[in-house]
Subunit: 501 residues, 2 copies
């Protein structure tokens, strides 16, 4: 038996157990031979990866130390007695080898894989292997199996509602936070919309980040039910709802390896929505050369895939393919996006028109899920609701009900990026702008990000600011600056050339 | 600037950097946003993964701690000043996405991937992604590109030799250490054979482990040259030769994820042999239902692949496909295998005949690489050399030159596994026997392993011992016992049944 110790190290969702090299319970002469272990404490068994430590003050020979992730999971106090045993490789790893060999995996195999991921029997390496193996070739029924496996047993039920709607925009387009405006319009109309949002993984801000600038987004299922009952709408992080536990683990690895396959995007989105109890779902696929989905062929393939899986899961799916060629709105980063959203809801004269129009378009599609609404009336209904101020009113109620958030601190380190020639903005590179924003700290700080002054088609004079970078500390500011000079993400076409051409 | 500290943690070849959550140089509020960083110290830059620590005694806000792997690499003393910056994802990750999408990668792409692996810009997750993505579909020219990339610039030159031979047996068959006997015979004959061997990854013992029971195997290139000059033969670990640095990193991940593709086996073997300067190579592919290569189709595919790559690299390759249906020899685990080898070399009456015959067969094929030897004379020449005692003499010289090793401590915890019925041994499951041996500690301790008393075709009485397990400590002994009762790896056919049949 070993004595449990907590080593306060955060390690990307990976459970790590630390043993002294001269551990009393397990001989660890040779790092080569190390393996995954099972840790038995009380009634609970957890899985962890072993690392070997040569410092008794970190972990003594009669101790077992766990990092933050593992210590939280084992849920025992320091000093508790635990034992360890070797953990054989999970059986489901064999399915990964089968997938590599080109086989079609069964529903039971996907279920076993997802269960092993959730119970932490997979290392991040194993998860990466699964993602790459399945990503290269997966039939639509396999995506269905994976989706069902990710949902598991936990589905939020809305017994008092006939339909429960939601709207999800695929990532890759900076600033694109139409969902929050859509939720306000739909709630004002009266359809129940428990919008489940996620935090940023690779972008400057996720919908949950942007909403967190306005209100608390961490609620549990009971609270979510209360919010939707009171106001018809809520915009919350799915994290605290305790649904789709595999999703976070898979997402972390996807982010780390920088590879995301359409099949996994489809499974991830639909699993969360299914688990959230959504019956009618609008999916927005923005397409742009520098967006996540790069052309209409890809978008069409993803649309068909999501329609198939949605049908099989009895979720009504409406997929729209939209223009993702440049950022939507002006603000990029949670605080700046939230500002744009409020401008739109307030019908402010300087509200970004692209954000406004796209939100009305999407809200109209969601409203048309209502059998009582006459076909073709969605857009106009949405417009009425926005222009009459009902959407703003609904949003204020939602914010109050979720708990108003304090004002975010806007980054003090700023720099204006200016046009190096006069002309017309020809293109804005979503990928580069996102990268600059992320380096400026936007995915860490709500007050960091980018504010765009010019969009595609705008005229600019040489030296005129194109956008402003906001960072919250000097390190992030330096990171952002280190790449912006080589490529600021804007392409400007000289007016003269245009005349000649 | 941060102050460098060494945190003595071993982490499976992964570079890890630890920052305090309130680090002065980098804000780390949110574990989600953590990334790979570059650490700049002196003239050197290394790459590492960040973990966040909440304990100042482990790492203070003005410190940067590195684990064993990273600290060794940065090669600076504790207290040195280092700075950090964000490390963008390596460009070559894009090639992995291209591979997933079914593309054929160029030689330049493989080269970039391997360089990024060697410079530690790839995490283990990234390496796993590469292995799985490429493993599912790789043309022979791609395997060639990967092999060449793994070789890199470091090739050992044998300017005084016309031909340099080696022999490599694929794994999966416990006890199969013919290579060492082959080396002794070939050295006695006079062909130069610098046998480069590896330590165990997933088996009870690698050739380097078994040889290390007899002699020191850790030599550098200069020493290897001296050994071969003096004795024509040497059996050394390739680790200290400073060749094929990618191979170890890739092998670690393969072992962790438990997935090995033929294409990577071929590239790994041929890269090491190419880098070792081998001109003529014999490859033994043992085939068995419970071996690594499970049928002759697989073996044939691997043979063609290795022949193609060998031809393109101008290495003369002779591939033989052999019987891998049961363990070779009686001993499994370094000390027990070394004992068998010495018995064969000494022409002992109880030397395992299968090990002896297979060694002669392989040695004969290697000898036939010699243009001066008449075709068909290899086997008989090898037999003469063995039976006359010249092979033993050559081995004694090799051992003396490399440095005789101390006697290994044979495991004190033993258990005889006995037949549960009388009959004839029908089959021995390589995979299960290997697993029992590994659990008994064979891959950690030279003195742990298994000694087989019965092989396929032998008659046994009920209660008669089939084999003995040796473990060096009670934990390993318990591990081995925990699986042996469910499946001891032996299949016994009752003699009566046979009469009826």
């Amino acid at each position: 038996m070993l004595t449990l110790k907590h080593l306060p190290v955060s390690s990307f969702c990976e459970n790590i157990a630390y043993l002294n090299r001269f551990c009393n319970a397990y001989k660890t002469d040779d790092i080569h031979s190390l393996v995954k272990i099972e840790i038995h404490g009380g009634v609970k068994t957890i899985y962890a990866f072993l690392q070997v430590v040569d410092d008794e003050s970190i972990v003594a020979p009669d101790e077992l130390a766990l990092n933050n992730e593992a210590f939280k999971l084992i849920n025992l106090p320091e000093g508790a007695k635990v034992s360890i045993s070797l953990s054989p490789a999970p059986q489901s790893i064999r399915s990964i080898a089968r997938k590599i060999a080109g086989n079609i995996l069964t529903s039971a195999e996907y279920s076993a894989i997802v269960n092993d991921i959730v119970s932490k029997r997979y290392s991040n390496m194993d998860i990466a292997s699964f993602l790459v193996a399945s990503g290269s070739f997966m039939l639509a029924p396999e995506v269905l199996s994976l989706t069902e496996a990710m949902v598991g047993d936990r589905i939020i039920r809305w017994n008092n509602e006939d339909i429960v709607v939601d709207c999800h925009c695929l990532g890759g387009v900076p600033g694109n936070k139409t969902d929050i405006i859509v939720a306000a319009i739909v709630a004002a109309y009266g359809l129940p919309m428990p919008k489940t949002a996620s935090h940023s993984l690779t972008s400057c801000a996720g919908v949950a980040d942007t909403m967190s600038v306005l209100a608390n987004v961490d609620v549990d299922e009971k609270e979510l039910h209360r919010l939707v009952e009171e106001n018809r709408g809520a915009i919350v992080s799915y994290n605290n709802l305790d649904i789709c536990p595999a999703n976070k683990l898979i997402g972390q690895v996807e982010r780390q390896i920088g590879i995301t396959q359409q099949e996994h995007i489809a499974a991830s989105i639909l699993a969360i929505k299914m688990a959230a109890g959504v019956s009618h779902l609008l999916i927005d696929i923005p397409v742009g050369e520098k967006s996540r989905i790069r052309n209409t062929n890809e978008a069409m393939r993803l649309r068909k895939l999501m329609e198939y899986v949605g049908d099989m899961l009895s979720i009504q799916i409406d997929v729209v393919i939209t223009d993702g060629s440049e950022p939507i709105g002006n603000g990029i980063g949670a605080a700046f996006e939230a500002r744009d959203i409020i401008k739109v809801l307030k019908n402010a004269h300087d509200a970004p028109q692209d954000l406004l129009e796209k939100s009305l378009f999407l809200a109209g599609r969601v409203l048309e899920f209502d059998p009582k609404l006459r076909g073709g009336q969605g857009y106009h209904t949405a417009k009425d609701i926005l222009e009459s101020g009902q959407a703003l009113e609904a949003m204020n109620k939602i914010i109050k009900a979720q708990g108003k958030a304090p004002q975010p601190k806007i980054g003090k380190f700023t720099r204006d990026i200016c046009a190096n020639m006069s002309g017309v903005v020809e293109a804005i590179d979503n990928t580069q702008i996102n990268k600059i924003g992320v380096l400026a700290g936007a995915s860490q700080y709500n007050g960091a990000g980018i504010d765009l002054f010019k969009k595609v088609g705008d005229s600019v004079e040489q030296g005129e600011p194109l956008y402003r970078i906001y960072a919250c500390n000097s390190t992030d500011f330096a990171f952002a600056n280190s790449i912006v000079d080589a490529d600021c993400g804007y392409e400007i076409r000289s007016e003269e050339n245009n005349d000649i051409g």
